[in-house]
């Protein structure tokens, strides 16, 4: 997954977006290759969430275009899954964990008989197998987010968009979920576009990091992360390359947040 | 998909067109004779009866009668409701002791008290006023209790630290905090007051729109009946919207 010449699956072609009279993003141009894990960082309001919504088709760009798998994005598609930051609002409170995962399977038209096995497998992958019959209100924040991830995997999409998914969680849960996501991504080969405001998280997770300025959101820098995989919470964070990148981008982060 | 209350210009036009369509539909049904004219007069006949009633003065007096009755009862109910509500609202003890009693009183249909009032006081204007007050006091009283009970505990601590007297607390912290809720309660109270005013007129035979439409129905004078209904609807509309505007202004600091 390190700088391999896979085909381009996401293309931002000079994308600009105006919303409510405000210019949210400007001249966004970069590509994401198949199987890559790309992190987008920036201050709040820099439009990083907007980028995800553009890829998922929930927003349409004012100028420029976004292309997924070579085709222009006109609307949401099942091939692009999105994991929202506010997980409690994205889950169906009246369905159990199994029921929530089932929703994605119902959407792709899987016959009822096959669903049970797939649900069980997916919940197992995110470590929620014993909680299948629990309702979201009975699950902790971390578990709810895992459930959302399981549901997005159930969609069978080749592209996974994650919008600051761990922002509302405590540090320990965040770390274990980071590793889980890395494992899932490596396992299934999905392409991941991951938005965060946490520089270290971006460096830890990504193959590349896209840093954005704010107001309007513009690309400040795109950096390759030459750290070895699989990543490890202790050793990776002590790698000289990690520390070097961190120092290098620290200044940029301060600039971005100014 | 959230729709706000303030709909822009085009929507207003569409709404008015919709209203016009509704009246036109009414006209078609009345003209077709599918429903007997005695039950459904045409919009034109209703309009004529309305204009006639309002200009020749009969309906004017009746309107005044109903509205005055409603306002008097409502004002009195609001005063008592706010006063009592404040007293109950600031005391957690009182709230605990009175909660089931208040819940029961709230659930009691005010019109059910009418026979009791007749028994006590007789079929007099005073009885009607009393019923209006008794019936319409609850939304305001309960809203006041709620408004006071929901004062941020932090503000309560602040008032204690500043050694505010009980009266000062009510006047400077409790009431301002409760005002949005109180206005909402008063708006509901006004709706109840109108209903009870009409009920009172129908039962006690007092001059007003309630009695007027009852008579019109007895004599099968449909246009007058409908005109009266329209006028009562207008009273409800104007009073409700008037207070809604006040409510909006007053609740601006919230959220």
């Amino acid at each position: 997954m390190n700088g391999n010449a896979g085909s381009v699956v996401i293309e931002f072609r000079d994308v600009g977006l105006y919303l409510g009279g405000k210019e949210i993003t400007q001249n966004i141009a970069f590509n994401v290759r198949k199987g890559e894990f790309v992190c987008v960082i920036g201050a709040s309001g820099c439009g990083k969430t907007t980028l995800l919504r553009l890829v998922s088709g929930l927003y349409q760009p004012t100028t420029g275009s976004v292309h997924v798998d070579g085709k222009k994005v006109e609307g949401p598609s099942r091939d692009v899954a999105i994991v929202f930051q506010d997980y409690s609002r994205a889950l169906l409170p009246w369905r159990t964990a199994a029921g929530n995962v089932s929703l994605a399977l119902e959407a792709i038209g899987m016959p009822r008989a096959e669903r049970a096995d797939r649900i069980h497998a997916l919940l197992g992958k995110v470590g929620l197998a014993q909680h299948a019959q629990k309702f979201p209100s009975q699950l902790s924040g971390g578990m709810q987010q895992r459930l959302q991830i399981a549901r997005s995997l159930a969609q069978g999409a080749s592209i996974l968009l994650m919008d600051e998914p761990f922002g509302a969680l405590d540090a320990m849960t965040r770390q274990s979920l980071q590793d889980e996501v890395l494992e899932l991504a490596a396992d299934s080969g999905v392409t991941v576009l991951f938005v965060t405001h946490d520089l270290e998280e971006a460096l830890y997770l990504g193959d590349r990091v896209v840093a954005l300025y704010s107001n309007p959101g513009r690309i400040a820098r795109i950096v390759d992360i030459p750290l070895p995989r699989p990543r490890n919470q202790l050793s990776t964070r002590e790698e000289p390359d990690f520390l070097h990148l961190r120092r290098e981008l620290f200044g940029l982060m301060e600039e971005i947040h100014a | 998909m959230k729709r706000g209350f303030n709909v822009p210009g085009l929507a207003l036009l569409q709404g008015l067109v919709g209203l016009a369509l509704f009246v036109w539909l009414w006209h078609l049904i009345a003209a077709s004779g599918a429903v007997p004219r005695a039950f459904l007069p045409s919009p034109e006949a209703t309009w004529n009866a309305f204009v006639r009633g309002v200009t020749t003065g009969d309906m004017r007096e009746q309107l005044l009668g109903t509205v005055l009755r409603m306002i008097n009862g409502w004002l009195l109910a609001s005063l008592v409701g706010i006063a009592l509500g404040s007293a109950i609202g600031i005391s957690e003890t009182l709230r605990n002791y009175l909660r089931p009693t208040l819940a029961f009183a709230r659930a009691l249909p005010a019109s059910a008290v009418v026979p009791v009032a007749i028994a006590l006081v007789g079929l007099t204007p005073g009885m009607v006023l009393g019923v209006i007050v008794f019936g319409s006091i609850w939304p305001t009283l309960l809203a006041t209790v709620q408004g006071f009970a929901m004062v941020d505990p932090r503000l309560v601590e602040v008032s204690r630290a500043l050694h505010l007297s009980r009266f000062d607390f009510i006047w400077k912290i409790g009431l301002p905090n409760a005002v949005p809720d109180i206005i909402t309660g008063m708006r509901l109270s006004l709706t109840v007051a109108l209903i009870l005013a009409i009920v009172g007129e129908m039962l006690a035979g007092q001059e007003g729109l309630g009695k007027a439409i009852l008579l019109a129905a007895r004599m099968f004078r449909a246009p007058d009946l409908y005109a009266g209904i329209v006028l009562l609807g207008l009273v409800g509309l104007v009073s409700s919207y008037g207070l809604l505007l006040v409510e909006r202004r007053v609740a601006r600091w919230r959220r």
Binding site: R89 | M1, R99, P100, L108, P109, A110, I229
Partner: protein, 254 residues
């Protein structure tokens, strides 16, 4: 329900009333002590009138609420899903809604005469508008995040409505039902007091007119208890139905 303290006040009031009547030896035709009220209950149950009138009022509450809720649900959903329809009808609705249901009593009486139809029509009218407004509110304020999930999963309008919007709105629809049943009871009793010679309201008036205060007050208490009981029953049902969701909409009837 809060603790025992809440019941002290009614209990004390009842005791005082009882004592007051006995001490002052008041035997009148306007009021009655609690003990006499109990006697009134026994009497009314005994001669069958209490049961009959209760069933009559219940029948109109049920019939009227069903009509009003059906109307409100269908139209409210339609308005919630199709913004254009909403924009065309909202002014008309705002004009029809403020008409006090009492004002329609003479009209209903004129058309249907005494009996069930007349009262059910009024109750239907009275419950239709609140139910419509609350349904519209519930449908149009569904969590936008859920609607986005529906879009991403590619559910069409029917799928979105069935799998996401309606289940999401269900608790608020239940609240609407609870509030409307309360309204229905009030309107039904009012209709019976003012014009319709059947049901609890009518019994109340008869008791007053025949100078039997113990019976009148018994019916008054019954009406209050029924109103309170219905609300709490539906509230309990609502909590049970939606407990697993974690959010409880316990908006109480105002």
């Amino acid at each position: 329900m809060s603790g025992w303290r809440g019941f002290i006040v009614p209990a004390v009031l009842l005791l005082l009333a009882e004592a007051g009547f006995r001490v002052f030896g008041y035997v009148g035709d306007t009021l009655a002590p609690p003990s006499a009220i109990l006697r009134g209950f026994v009497e009314a149950i005994g001669d069958g009138s209490m049961v009959t009138s209760t069933l009559q009022t219940f029948a109109t509450v049920l019939g009227g609420t069903v009509i009003g809720a059906a109307f409100g649900l269908v139209v409210g959903c339609a308005l919630g899903f199709w913004g254009l329809l909403y924009r065309f009808t909202y002014i008309t609705i705002e004009c029809l809604r403020p008409i006090p249901s009492v004002a329609l009593l003479p009209l209903s009486l004129m058309i249907f005469g005494f009996g069930y139809k007349m009262e059910i029509a009024i109750v239907g009218f009275a419950t239709a508008w609140p139910f419509l407004i609350l349904t519209y509110s519930a449908i149009s304020q569904v969590e936008p995040r859920l609607l986005e999930v529906a879009k991403v999963f590619g559910f069409g309008p029917v799928g979105t409505a069935w799998k996401l919007v309606l289940p999401a709105a269900a608790p608020r629809l239940m609240t609407a039902l609870r509030l409307c049943v309360g309204i229905a009871l009030v309107v039904a009793v009012t209709s019976e007091i003012v014009s319709n010679p059947q049901g609890l309201g009518h019994e109340l008036m008869i008791a007053q007119e025949t100078l039997r205060p113990h019976r009148m007050l018994a019916y008054l208490v019954l009406v209050g208890v029924i109103g309170w009981g219905l609300n709490n029953l539906l509230l309990w049902l609502q909590v049970r139905m939606f407990r697993h969701r974690g959010e409880i909409d316990t908006e109480v009837a105002a």
